[in-house]
């Protein structure tokens, strides 16, 4: 759904982009020879889930979104890889702590929910509430797209 609001841009790529990225990540997983002798089903599940998230982050715009950057950075840290993100133009950003302190006084209803959202959305800890909402919108779109792709894959692959 393209955003009609000129201030908020939450366009996500087509489903195909997500599909390609996901399949690619799955193939990478396979190349690592994990599936021939899986230790536990749980391990495989976790790997697949991680692959799903990473591929989603890449498909959704790589480093142009705050949540995708945080996701990729988190994943790379887990793999002990060093990820370098290209420097973006950034506006003046506030320090997190000062922002938090102030935001606690503002509309506690909104801020409580925003706190919970921050735990859900990757990279939410460093965002102000309004920015958090934008990222949540984009994140929701990408999540739903990824879910569709995976559903298709499962449907296509499941034995009849």
């Amino acid at each position: 759904m393209a955003s009609a609001d000129k201030t908020i841009n939450t366009d996500v790529p087509e489903k195909d982009v997500f599909a390609i990225h996901f399949l690619q990540s799955l193939s990478n997983l396979r190349i690592q020879n994990l599936f021939n002798s899986p230790d536990t089903t749980n391990y495989r599940v976790r790997k697949i889930k991680k692959a799903a998230y990473v591929s989603m982050a890449r498909a959704a715009g790589g480093t142009s979104r705050l949540w995708s950057r945080a996701l990729l950075r988190r994943a790379a840290k887990g793999n002990n890889k060093i990820v370098r993100f290209p420097r973006r133009k950034r506006k003046v950003t506030w320090k997190i702590s000062s922002k938090r302190r102030r935001s606690d006084q503002r509309a506690p209803v909104v801020e409580d929910a925003a706190e919970r959202l921050r735990n859900l959305v990757p990279g939410g800890g460093g965002m102000e509430t309004s920015k958090l909402m934008e990222e949540t919108a984009h994140y929701i779109k990408c999540l739903s797209m990824q879910v569709k792709v995976m559903q298709c894959l499962v449907d296509g692959l499941s034995p009849k």
């Binding site: 489903k15 195909d16 399949l23 003046v92 909104v110 929910a113 929701i140 879910v147 995976m150």
Partner: protein, 395 residues
């Protein structure tokens, strides 16, 4: 005659007697029991009868600035024609002065928290006919009937030259969504300087053109937010910034409301935020569940991916995609332009000469397509899904 008219008028007043008190606004509020104690030698009787009788406004310009508007009735200027106004220069001047305050307070009144909801609705529905001696110079402001406005506007232009900066545009309020705010010079404000965003309402630099009624935001060259303090609210820089922030948040919440299914009926921030959080959690759970399912079908997957990625001829934006272009695929130009995978799978179908379901709808259709193809194709080593099915069909 004076008093009779005005008494009658006062008697018509109902629940919407305004008590306008604003520090910035020099309008003096007076109790309703004393409607026109010292009225107006100023107002022409005819003017009064025409104007005040109809729209129920009362203006006392002896103090120059007291204003009271009765707006419980819809202010439809049915028979009110501006042409009836006497072209009296003195009157024009007074009317212009009045309109300034009328606008100023009117605008603020609408946004006043204590304002009657009815009033706002009325305002929105009907065109408010405030005595517009002010300059209705610009196009978008058409409060009164257009046929009648030219008279007064022409007259007033000569006189009401320096009549406050926002009287004309206050009329915009009536015709548009009421969002009048008082101008506040935020450039001097250090608090606001830190918010370098251009998305909020911004007044033009020209003092004569206030877009107090406009909703569209003009990006300022300096990039600051220019906010107007609403009537009756603190003009503290902190509270202004607060309001800006709150409005941004509510705007984004509206956007999110469209995104989350089933949030149309929900009103209120708290419930909607809970819905949003639940939705995100459910999506994440779905992903986890599907990944579990995928791991269950995984052995099948292995054969898939190899073949798929070895033969993928798609021009994918992913740079690391294996570029083993296979010649098996026909040029995809004639196929749907919708996406990458679609033409791929559609081409598979044409290759096999099987189902010609070149759907362009979505991925699902191609998936089904693939599954169907499996039954027909005998040798299809280059189809990712086909190999899957093949391994299934031919154990």
């Amino acid at each position: 005659m004076d008093m009779s008219d005005k008494d009658e008028f006062a008697a018509k007043k109902r629940d919407l007697d305004w008590r306008i008190s604003d520090s910035n606004n020099p309008i003096v509020s007076y109790p309703p029991e004393n409607p026109m104690s010292a009225p107006s030698q100023m107002m022409d009787e005819s003017f009064r009868q025409n104007l005040w009788h109809d729209c129920g406004f009362n203006v006392q310009t002896d103090a120059g600035t007291s204003f009271r508007g009765n707006v419980d009735r819809p202010l439809e200027m049915g028979g009110w024609n501006m042409a009836q106004f006497p072209a009296d220069s003195g009157f024009i001047e007074r009317a212009a002065k009045f309109s300034f305050f009328g606008c100023g307070s009117f605008g603020e009144m609408m946004m006043n928290q204590h304002s009657n909801g009815l009033f706002v609705q009325d305002m929105e529905k009907n065109q408010i006919g405030v005595a517009t001696g002010s300059k209705l110079v610009d196009g978008p402001v058409k409060v009164v009937k257009e046929n009648g406005s030219s008279d007064v506007s022409e007259d007033s232009q000569s006189s009401g030259g320096n009549n406050g900066h926002d009287d004309a545009k206050c009329m915009e309020i009536s015709s548009k969504v009421f969002n009048a705010k008082k101008r506040k010079r935020t450039v001097k404000d250090s608090e606001q300087e830190d918010k370098k965003e251009k998305d909020e309402q911004s007044p033009n630099s020209n003092a004569n053109k206030t877009n107090s009624g406009k909703q569209a935001s003009d990006p300022l060259k300096d990039g600051y937010i220019h906010m107007r303090a609403r009537r009756g609210q603190a003009t503290n820089s902190h509270s202004l910034a607060e309001r800006v922030r709150r409005e941004k948040i509510s705007e984004r919440m509206k956007f999110l409301q469209d995104l989350v299914p089933g949030c149309d009926k929900v009103t209120g921030k708290a419930v909607m935020l809970d819905e949003i959080i639940n939705y995100v959690q459910s999506l994440q759970c779905q992903i986890e569940f599907l990944s579990m399912k995928l791991s269950a079908v995984n052995p099948v997957l292995d054969f898939n991916l190899e073949s798929l990625l070895a033969k993928d001829s798609l021009h994918v934006p992913a740079p690391t995609f294996p570029q083993d272009m296979s010649m098996l695929y026909p040029p995809l130009s004639h196929l749907s332009q919708k996406g990458f995978m679609q033409p791929n799978l559609s081409s598979l179908s044409t290759l096999n000469g099987g189902l010609k379901r070149q759907d362009t709808h979505g991925y699902e259709s191609d998936q089904h397509n693939v599954v169907h193809m499996n039954h027909e194709t005998s040798t299809a080593p280059d189809h990712e899904k086909n190999t899957t099915a093949n391994t299934e069909v031919e154990p």
